[in-house]
């Protein structure tokens, strides 16, 4: 079943003193996310990730287009009881304790009074804040606030969780904890839509990613497919004190680390390279095809758009290979 269906959603703001200039924040976006999927929305700061999330949360109103969540329109009251949202770098009511805050959000989300307190304690425990539950939030560190943020997003057991830059500003330990939590949500069958500009997180967690830049969706693809594409090159690792001259002649780019050589060369030279190793009596460690990394895919999609598209009237639609229809599942670019 489709969890999120975004149909040509777009947003532009009127800027300038007389508010006559239109600043395009999001170009027509068409995207579909299936239930149970972990979807990463990648892009640099100001790319349109947060705008998309705000549109889906009903915090800003679209200039055009529409979206459906769990088959319902965004303004359908039923939708909001089934979604959880963590904004970027969240701050909460300074004078409330973590327990009071979660109880308040539980009340607003319609968590029944009976069992609410137990649910709050369960969430505090899950994010590792049981010991600080009675401390006012103004005394919390950034990482602790992020954990409270995660707890409030999943408190009411939503089907869909939207996370805006959930790892931003966290130390490695904190990032690990958030990653574990997203994995856990996946195992519980939740749909997770999260924005990030940390590619390693996306690569580790997502089923699919979408790359957005300058308000335009540049591509959508399944991580497994994106990173399985070979690039016509192989990587050979073997024991040797130096790079054999015969290998260099085959066009290998090699580096030596201790007594291990790492060489990358064209796929067609594979047999010749192995023959060199045999001839030199060198011990092979591994031979693997060079695959495209998510980073390369991301960089490839960061090409600048021709023409003055950042500001001005939003008459043109996406000029790219149109991630319009082909982005349901699989590679969209």
């Amino acid at each position: 079943m489709v969890a999120i269906e975004i149909l040509d959603l777009e947003k532009s703001y009127q800027v300038g003193f007389w508010r006559k200039r239109a600043k395009v924040a999001l170009r027509p976006l068409r995207l579909t996310i299936e239930e149970g999927e972990v979807f990463g929305f990648l892009g640099p700061n100001g790319a349109g990730k947060t705008t998309t999330l705000k549109l889906l949360m009903g915090l800003v109103f679209p200039t055009a287009g529409t979206a459906r969540i769990l088959g319902r329109a965004l303004d359908d009251p039923q939708v909001k009881s089934q979604i959880g949202f963590l904004p970027e770098q969240p701050y909460f009511y300074d004078h409330l304790t973590a327990r009071e805050l979660l109880n308040y959000y539980g009340q607003l989300s319609g968590v029944p009074a009976k069992g609410r307190a137990a649910r709050v304690e369960q969430m505090l425990d899950r994010v590792g804040l049981s010991d600080s539950a009675g401390v006012q939030l103004r005394k919390f560190s950034k990482g602790m606030l992020q954990r409270v943020g995660l707890a409030q997003a999943i408190l009411h057991d939503p089907k869909l969780v939207f996370l805006d830059e959930p790892m931003s500003g966290l130390d490695p330990m904190g990032r690990r904890e958030v990653r574990d939590m997203i994995q856990q949500l996946r195992h519980e069958g939740k749909t997770v839509f999260f924005s990030t500009h940390i590619l390693s997180d996306a690569e580790a967690l997502c089923d699919r990613v979408g790359v957005i830049h300058q308000g335009e969706l540049r591509g959508v693809g399944a991580i497994a497919e994106l990173t399985s594409q070979t690039q016509g090159r192989i990587e050979i690792i073997f024991y040797a004190p130096r790079v054999p001259a015969a290998l260099t002649q085959l066009g290998a780019e090699a580096r030596v680390s201790g007594n291990i050589v790492n060489a990358v060369l064209p796929e067609k030279q594979q047999d010749a390279a192995l023959e060199v190793l045999r001839h030199e009596r060198l011990k092979l460690i591994s031979l693997t095809p060079v695959r495209r990394s998510l980073e390369e895919y991301y960089i490839q999609n960061m090409r600048p758009i021709e023409g003055p598209k950042e500001e001005g009237p939003k008459e043109e639609g996406p000029k790219e290979e149109g991630p319009k229809e082909e982005n349901r599942k699989g590679v969209g670019v």
Partner: protein, 263 residues
Amino acid sequence: MNSSRTDARIGFIAFNTFREAVRDRVLYNLIAFALLLSGSAILVGEISIDIERLVVVNLGLTAVSIFGVVIAIFIGIGLVSKEMDKRTLYTVLSRPVRRWEFIVGKFFGLTGTLIVNTLFMAIGVLLALLYTAHRFEKMDVWVMVAVYFIVLQFLIVCALALFFSSFSTPLMSAVFTFALFIIGSLAEDLRGFARITHGAGGVLATAIAYLVPNFSALNVISQVAHGDSVPGRLILYNTLYALLYSTMVISGAVLIFQRRNLK
């Protein structure tokens, strides 16, 4: 999200607003100042032979009114903008909470805070009166009516602060609200001016005179300080006026906030 839950959600938001406000230390400083002023009224009263009561009531209730307005503006202007700046609003409105419920909840929370504050400050004034007269007098009831009218003023001030903060910066909201409080306190004079002005200027003056909140009608401090009674009809009219005016202003705030993009 059915209608039976709406009142509950408004109640939760109101209670949370109240709880946040009462835990803010700045509030206690302001109340302490007001109580100090009421206390100092005793000293001033003691050197004012025969008019001790007049001085205590005048100074005490004026302190209650001014500090209450400062608190109303101070908290009211930040209610929406602070939630937007800190993005707490995002986590509230991404739940089954309608935007109007949020505004109305905030309004009730703020007025609740002010009612409790006023109660404390009014107790200070009553204690000052008890100190000067050594007993409560019958006419002290009218002092309580004056306090009630001050609360009605706060109702309108809260609504105005919330209204301006629904589309403006905290600083501008404070300026607008305070300016309207000052103009509204001179509403009777403005109406008098409108009566003697003719032509387009007269129409404009009349429109402004009736559009600005009539805080002067809600100010009976001087009257009760002299021991005069307050007619029951005025209590009824003032109550209806304050409720109607604040409802209209809050409706305006809701209309603006409903359409606002929360950037």
